[in-house]
Amino acid sequence: MANNKEKQVTQKKKVALAGLNLLALASTLFNYNVEVDSKVNSDSKENQVAKINASTLKSIESTWLRVPMSCKAKGFNAEPTALVGERPSNAALAVYQSLI
C-alpha cells in the first residue's frame, strides 16, 4: 500500500514536472498578464495550448473519474416514477395518424 502511494506521488511529480517544462516553453510565447503579442505565431500558440490541455486531461483523469455519473454533462436529472393511466397526447397521436 505504501509503495503504491509512493508511486502515485512520484507519478504526480512527473506530471507536474512535465507541465512545468511545457509552461517554461509556453511562457516564452505569451504572458497572461498582458495583451497577447500579435506577432506570436497563432499556430504555435495553438500547439502549446493543445499540449497543455493534453497534460491537464491526463492529470485530472483520476479526479474526474470520482465525479458521479449523475453530475456529468449528459445526465438526466429525474427518477423513474410509476405512472397511472398515462397515454400518448392527442397532438402526438394526430401526427402518427396522419402518416397511416
Partner: protein
C-alpha cells in the same frame, strides 16, 4: 439503409448544425443509429426507466436489445427486452415518443419501444422546438471512439475541451435541440413544452453572451479556464430538461457562475496545466438540484467561490 461508413460520410458533409427538416431522412437514420448504439450500454439513459410489469422491477440493462427498423419512408429503432414483453416506461410524457401501432400489447402494456426520430421531430415542431443534428457532437459520439471499459463516455472530456456549453446555449436560445442519442431523447425531447421555453431562451441567451464575452480575446482556451463554462453548461442542460424547467435552484447557481465569467476571476487565457478536477464541481451540481438551496443563497456563493479557488489552487501557474 445506408452502411455505417456511408452514413458517416454523408453526415460529415453536413453543416455543423442541420435541422431535421432540411435533411429528414438522413436525420432519421443518424438519430436512430445514435440511439441504437447506446442501448444496453453504460450510456443508455432509457434503461433505468424501463420496468417489467409482472415483477415491478427495472429491466436489466443486459437484457435490452435494439435494431434499426424501417416503416414507410421512415427509419427508426426498435428496443425490446429479453426479460419481459410487458413493459412500462416510468418516464412522464414518453408515450408520445412511441409509435402507437407497433409499441403496444393488446392490454395496453408496452411490448417494445419503436421510435422514429423523424416523426418525433414533427411532434416537437408543434411545440415550436426544432430538432437538429450537430455534426461535431455526432462525429464524436455516434461515429467516435467508445471504450466500454471506461465508466464514462469519452464525450465528457471532449465536451469540456471543446467548450461545448457555448454551442449548447446557442442552440437553446434559438429553440433548437439536438437528437443524437438516448440522453437527448429522454432528457430533453420527451415532454418539451413551448410555454416553458421563453424563460429557457433568456437563460440560454445569458449563457451564450457571457461565454462569448469571456473568450472574446482567447481563441484557444486551456482546460483551467473552461471549467466554469463547463459547469454552467451542465446546469443549463438541467434547465433544458422538462422536469427541471424553471428551477430556481439552478437559476441561482447559473447567475453566480455567469458572474464569475463576467468578472474574469479565472483569467480566460490562463496558460496552465490543471492538476486536479475541482471537487466543488460535484457539490455545485448536486446542490443546484436541491430546491432548498434558494433559501440559503450565501451557501451557493461560497461554493462557487470555492470552485474558483480550487481551479486557481490546482493550477501550476498561480494568478498574481
Amino acid at each position: 439503409m445506408e452502411t455505417r461508413d456511408g452514413l458517416r460520410r454523408d453526415f460529415s458533409r453536413l453543416k455543423e448544425v442541420t435541422p431535421f427538416s432540411k435533411a429528414p431522412k438522413l436525420a432519421g437514420m443518424i438519430a436512430s443509429l445514435g440511439i441504437h448504439r447506446e442501448i444496453g450500454t453504460v450510456n443508455d439513459e432509457l434503461a433505468r426507466f424501463i420496468f417489467a410489469i409482472n415483477t415491478g422491477e427495472v429491466i436489466s440493462r443486459d437484457s435490452l436489445k435494439a435494431e434499426i427498423v424501417a416503416w414507410r419512408t421512415f427509419t427508426g429503432v426498435r428496443i425490446w427486452s429479453e426479460e419481459s414483453s410487458r413493459l412500462e416506461m416510468r418516464a412522464k410524457w414518453f408515450h408520445d415518443m412511441l409509435h402507437p401501432s407497433f409499441s403496444y400489447n393488446a392490454d395496453g402494456s408496452i411490448k417494445q419501444l419503436v421510435i422514429f426520430p423523424e416523426i418525433i421531430s414533427r411532434i416537437t415542431a408543434l411545440q415550436g422546438v426544432e430538432l437538429v443534428l450537430v455534426k461535431s457532437w455526432g462525429m464524436n459520439s455516434i461515429f467516435g471512439g467508445f471504450d466500454p471499459s471506461k465508466e464514462y463516455y469519452q464525450t465528457n472530456f471532449w465536451e469540456l475541451e471543446n467548450n461545448d456549453s457555448a454551442l449548447f446555449s446557442d442552440l437553446v436560445r434559438q429553440n433548437k435541440l439536438a437528437l443524437l442519442g438516448t440522453h437527448d431523447l429522454i432528457a430533453h425531447v420527451t415532454g418539451v413544452k413551448s410555454e416553458r421555453w421563453k424563460l429557457l431562451n433568456t437563460q440560454a441567451q445569458m449563457v451564450f453572451d457571457s461565454i462569448n464575452l469571456y473568450f472574446e480575446d482567447t481563441t484557444t482556451p486551456t482546460i483551467a479556464s473552461l471549467i466554469v463554462p463547463y459547469t454552467i453548461g451542465v446546469i443549463l442542460d438541467d434547465l433544458a430538461q422538462p422536469p427541471t424547467y424553471g428551477s430556481a435552484s439552478h437559476a441561482l447557481f447559473l447567475e453566480l457562475l455567469v458572474s464569475v465569467l463576467r468578472k474574469k476571476t479565472v483569467p480566460a487565457n490562463l496558460p496552465t496545466v490543471l492538476t486536479q478536477f475541482p471537487n466543488e464541481f460535484k457539490n455545485i451540481i448536486e446542490l443546484s438540484r436541491l430546491p432548498g438551496i434558494v433559501k440559503n443563497p450565501e451557501r451557493a456563493k461560497i461554493l462557487v467561490d470555492q470552485l474558483v479557488a480550487e481551479i486557481l489552487e490546482h493550477s501550476l501557474v498561480k494568478v498574481s
